[in-house]
Amino acid sequence: MNDVRFFEIVDQPIIIEDLIHKVASREVGAITTFIGTVREFTGGKKTLFLEYQAYPTMAEKMLREIGVEIKKKWPDARVAITHRIGKLDIMDIAVVIAVSSPHRKTAYEANEYAIERIKEIVPIWKKEHWQDGTEWVGNQLETIRYPAGKPIAKGESE
Protein backbone atom coordinates (compact mmCIF):
# COMPACT_ATOMS: atom_id res chain seq x y z
CA MET A 1 0.00 0.00 0.00
CA ASN A 2 2.85 2.33 0.81
CA ASP A 3 4.07 2.88 -2.70
CA VAL A 4 0.65 3.64 -4.10
CA ARG A 5 0.54 7.28 -5.12
CA PHE A 6 -3.03 8.42 -4.64
CA PHE A 7 -2.48 11.95 -5.96
CA GLU A 8 -0.49 12.43 -9.12
CA ILE A 9 0.36 14.85 -11.89
CA VAL A 10 1.47 12.92 -14.97
CA ASP A 11 2.44 13.71 -18.53
CA GLN A 12 1.26 10.40 -19.99
CA PRO A 13 -2.22 9.03 -20.73
CA ILE A 14 -4.19 8.16 -17.60
CA ILE A 15 -5.30 4.56 -17.14
CA ILE A 16 -8.72 4.70 -15.49
CA GLU A 17 -8.50 1.13 -14.16
CA ASP A 18 -5.38 2.04 -12.19
CA LEU A 19 -7.28 4.61 -10.17
CA ILE A 20 -10.16 2.24 -9.58
CA HIS A 21 -7.75 -0.35 -8.21
CA LYS A 22 -6.24 2.21 -5.85
CA VAL A 23 -9.58 2.79 -4.11
CA ALA A 24 -11.17 -0.67 -4.40
CA SER A 25 -11.32 -2.91 -1.35
CA ARG A 26 -13.41 -5.61 0.31
CA GLU A 27 -15.10 -2.95 2.46
CA VAL A 28 -16.52 -0.80 -0.33
CA GLY A 29 -19.75 -1.26 -2.20
CA ALA A 30 -19.59 1.82 -4.38
CA ILE A 31 -16.90 3.38 -6.53
CA THR A 32 -17.49 6.51 -8.55
CA THR A 33 -15.18 7.96 -11.13
CA PHE A 34 -15.13 11.35 -12.76
CA ILE A 35 -13.34 11.50 -16.09
CA GLY A 36 -12.68 14.95 -17.50
CA THR A 37 -12.17 14.83 -21.26
CA VAL A 38 -11.21 17.44 -23.84
CA ARG A 39 -14.33 18.72 -25.55
CA GLU A 40 -14.25 20.01 -29.10
CA PHE A 41 -16.68 22.91 -28.80
CA THR A 42 -17.00 25.43 -25.98
CA GLY A 43 -19.58 28.15 -26.46
CA GLY A 44 -19.60 27.56 -30.20
CA LYS A 45 -15.81 27.92 -30.50
CA LYS A 46 -13.82 25.03 -31.89
CA THR A 47 -10.88 23.78 -29.87
CA LEU A 48 -8.03 22.18 -31.82
CA PHE A 49 -6.12 20.97 -28.78
CA LEU A 50 -5.28 21.97 -25.22
CA GLU A 51 -2.10 22.50 -23.34
CA TYR A 52 -2.07 21.94 -19.60
CA GLN A 53 0.63 23.36 -17.39
CA ALA A 54 1.08 22.76 -13.67
CA TYR A 55 3.21 23.80 -10.75
CA PRO A 56 3.70 20.07 -10.26
CA THR A 57 4.94 19.75 -6.69
CA MET A 58 2.40 22.23 -5.36
CA ALA A 59 -0.37 20.72 -7.50
CA GLU A 60 0.24 17.27 -5.99
CA LYS A 61 0.37 18.86 -2.56
CA MET A 62 -3.01 20.54 -3.12
CA LEU A 63 -4.50 17.29 -4.42
CA ARG A 64 -3.37 15.60 -1.22
CA GLU A 65 -4.93 18.48 0.69
CA ILE A 66 -8.24 17.82 -1.08
CA GLY A 67 -7.83 14.21 0.04
CA VAL A 68 -7.47 15.41 3.64
CA GLU A 69 -10.55 17.62 3.33
CA ILE A 70 -12.55 14.67 2.00
CA LYS A 71 -11.33 12.37 4.77
CA LYS A 72 -12.57 14.92 7.28
CA LYS A 73 -16.00 15.33 5.65
CA TRP A 74 -16.50 11.66 4.65
CA PRO A 75 -14.30 9.49 6.89
CA ASP A 76 -15.14 6.25 5.08
CA ALA A 77 -14.26 7.56 1.61
CA ARG A 78 -11.03 6.67 -0.15
CA VAL A 79 -9.87 8.96 -2.98
CA ALA A 80 -7.36 8.86 -5.83
CA ILE A 81 -6.81 11.68 -8.31
CA THR A 82 -4.55 11.86 -11.35
CA HIS A 83 -4.28 14.95 -13.52
CA ARG A 84 -2.47 14.96 -16.83
CA ILE A 85 -0.47 17.88 -18.20
CA GLY A 86 1.07 18.65 -21.59
CA LYS A 87 -0.64 18.66 -24.98
CA LEU A 88 -4.05 17.00 -25.02
CA ASP A 89 -6.17 16.29 -28.06
CA ILE A 90 -9.94 16.21 -28.32
CA MET A 91 -11.33 13.27 -26.29
CA ASP A 92 -8.10 12.84 -24.34
CA ILE A 93 -8.53 12.43 -20.59
CA ALA A 94 -7.28 15.37 -18.53
CA VAL A 95 -8.27 14.21 -15.07
CA VAL A 96 -9.62 11.11 -13.34
CA ILE A 97 -11.04 11.11 -9.82
CA ALA A 98 -11.96 7.80 -8.19
CA VAL A 99 -13.77 7.63 -4.86
CA SER A 100 -14.83 4.51 -3.01
CA SER A 101 -17.05 4.11 0.01
CA PRO A 102 -19.23 1.50 1.63
CA HIS A 103 -22.11 3.84 0.68
CA ARG A 104 -22.96 5.22 -2.73
CA LYS A 105 -24.14 8.65 -1.57
CA THR A 106 -20.71 9.35 -0.15
CA ALA A 107 -19.01 8.12 -3.31
CA TYR A 108 -20.97 10.62 -5.42
CA GLU A 109 -20.72 13.57 -3.05
CA ALA A 110 -17.03 13.25 -2.29
CA ASN A 111 -16.24 12.85 -5.98
CA GLU A 112 -18.10 16.01 -6.96
CA TYR A 113 -16.48 17.87 -4.08
CA ALA A 114 -13.06 16.83 -5.40
CA ILE A 115 -13.57 18.22 -8.91
CA GLU A 116 -14.96 21.49 -7.54
CA ARG A 117 -11.94 21.91 -5.28
CA ILE A 118 -9.53 21.06 -8.09
CA LYS A 119 -10.95 23.95 -10.06
CA GLU A 120 -10.42 26.23 -7.09
CA ILE A 121 -7.10 25.46 -5.46
CA VAL A 122 -4.91 23.22 -7.61
CA PRO A 123 -2.28 25.16 -9.61
CA ILE A 124 -2.98 23.75 -13.06
CA TRP A 125 -3.70 25.92 -16.06
CA LYS A 126 -5.15 25.25 -19.46
CA LYS A 127 -4.32 26.97 -22.69
CA GLU A 128 -6.96 26.70 -25.37
CA HIS A 129 -5.71 26.43 -28.90
CA TRP A 130 -8.69 27.61 -30.91
CA GLN A 131 -8.96 27.65 -34.66
CA ASP A 132 -8.28 31.38 -34.51
CA GLY A 133 -5.81 31.89 -31.69
CA THR A 134 -4.83 30.82 -28.21
CA GLU A 135 -5.88 31.75 -24.71
CA TRP A 136 -4.89 30.85 -21.16
CA VAL A 137 -8.24 30.06 -19.61
CA GLY A 138 -8.98 31.77 -16.31
CA ASN A 139 -10.98 30.37 -13.46
CA GLN A 140 -13.32 27.85 -15.08
CA LEU A 141 -15.92 28.36 -12.44
CA GLU A 142 -16.66 31.59 -14.27
CA THR A 143 -17.21 33.45 -11.08
CA ILE A 144 -15.42 36.43 -9.70
CA ARG A 145 -11.93 35.36 -8.73
CA TYR A 146 -11.86 32.94 -5.82
CA PRO A 147 -15.33 33.29 -4.33
CA ALA A 148 -16.56 31.21 -1.39
CA GLY A 149 -14.23 28.43 -2.41
CA LYS A 150 -11.12 30.57 -2.55
CA PRO A 151 -7.86 29.06 -1.47
CA ILE A 152 -7.40 29.52 2.23
CA ALA A 153 -4.38 31.73 2.54
CA LYS A 154 -2.07 31.16 5.47
CA GLY A 155 -2.99 33.44 8.35
CA GLU A 156 -6.50 34.06 7.07
CA SER A 157 -9.48 32.59 8.83
CA GLU A 158 -11.93 30.78 6.61
Binding site: G36, Y52, Q53, A54, Y55, T57, M58, A59, K61, H83, A94, V95, I115, I118, K119, E120, I121, V122, P123, I124, W125, K126, K127, W136, V137, G138, N139, Q140, R145, Y146, P151, I152, A153, K154, G155, E156
Partner: protein, 78 residues
Protein backbone atom coordinates in the same frame (compact mmCIF):
# COMPACT_ATOMS: atom_id res chain seq x y z
CA UNK B 1 18.18 35.22 -2.66
CA UNK B 2 14.54 34.43 -3.22
CA UNK B 3 13.31 32.36 -6.09
CA UNK B 4 10.25 33.49 -8.04
CA UNK B 5 8.14 31.22 -10.28
CA UNK B 6 5.79 32.35 -13.05
CA UNK B 7 3.12 30.23 -14.74
CA UNK B 8 0.61 30.25 -17.58
CA UNK B 9 -0.45 33.74 -18.71
CA UNK B 10 2.06 35.57 -16.50
CA UNK B 11 4.91 33.40 -17.69
CA UNK B 12 3.95 34.14 -21.27
CA UNK B 13 3.54 37.86 -20.67
CA UNK B 14 6.88 38.21 -18.95
CA UNK B 15 8.65 35.75 -21.22
CA UNK B 16 10.34 34.02 -18.26
CA UNK B 17 9.37 31.16 -15.98
CA UNK B 18 11.64 31.93 -13.06
CA UNK B 19 13.72 34.68 -11.55
CA UNK B 20 16.06 35.05 -8.63
CA UNK B 21 16.19 38.32 -6.77
CA UNK B 22 17.97 39.67 -3.73
CA UNK B 23 15.24 40.48 -1.26
CA UNK B 24 16.83 43.78 -0.24
CA UNK B 25 14.14 46.25 0.71
CA UNK B 26 11.42 43.70 -0.12
CA UNK B 27 9.77 42.40 3.01
CA UNK B 28 6.27 41.33 1.96
CA UNK B 29 4.44 39.78 -0.97
CA UNK B 30 2.84 43.15 -1.63
CA UNK B 31 6.24 44.79 -1.92
CA UNK B 32 7.53 42.05 -4.20
CA UNK B 33 4.52 42.44 -6.47
CA UNK B 34 5.10 46.19 -6.53
CA UNK B 35 8.74 45.69 -7.42
CA UNK B 36 7.96 43.25 -10.23
CA UNK B 37 5.21 45.39 -11.67
CA UNK B 38 7.47 48.40 -11.66
CA UNK B 39 10.20 46.43 -13.43
CA UNK B 40 8.10 44.37 -15.87
CA UNK B 41 4.86 46.38 -16.26
CA UNK B 42 2.87 43.16 -16.01
CA UNK B 43 -0.89 43.46 -16.39
CA UNK B 44 -1.70 39.95 -15.13
CA UNK B 45 0.49 39.76 -12.02
CA UNK B 46 -1.89 41.87 -9.96
CA UNK B 47 -4.74 39.38 -10.41
CA UNK B 48 -2.81 36.36 -9.29
CA UNK B 49 -2.68 34.61 -5.96
CA UNK B 50 0.67 34.04 -4.32
CA UNK B 51 2.19 30.93 -2.79
CA UNK B 52 5.30 30.83 -0.65
CA UNK B 53 6.93 27.43 -0.43
CA UNK B 54 3.77 25.92 -1.92
CA UNK B 55 1.34 27.45 0.58
CA UNK B 56 -1.15 30.09 -0.47
CA UNK B 57 -0.44 33.35 1.39
CA UNK B 58 -1.92 36.82 1.60
CA UNK B 59 -0.21 39.99 0.35
CA UNK B 60 0.83 40.78 3.91
CA UNK B 61 2.94 37.63 4.20
CA UNK B 62 6.63 38.24 4.92
CA UNK B 63 9.24 36.90 2.54
CA UNK B 64 12.42 35.37 3.90
CA UNK B 65 15.77 34.58 2.35
CA UNK B 66 15.55 31.23 0.57
CA UNK B 67 11.80 31.34 0.01
CA UNK B 68 10.24 30.12 -3.23
CA UNK B 69 7.52 32.56 -4.24
CA UNK B 70 5.07 31.45 -6.95
CA UNK B 71 2.47 33.62 -8.63
CA UNK B 72 -0.66 31.60 -9.29
CA UNK B 73 -3.06 33.03 -11.87
CA UNK B 74 -6.67 31.81 -11.63
CA UNK B 75 -6.46 28.04 -12.04
CA UNK B 76 -8.29 26.02 -14.66
CA UNK B 77 -7.52 22.36 -14.07
CA UNK B 78 -10.03 19.58 -14.40
Amino acid sequence: MIQILFFAGIQEELGIDRLEVEPEGIYTVKELKGFLQHTYHSSTLQQSMTAINENFVTEQEKIKEGDIVAFIPPVSGG
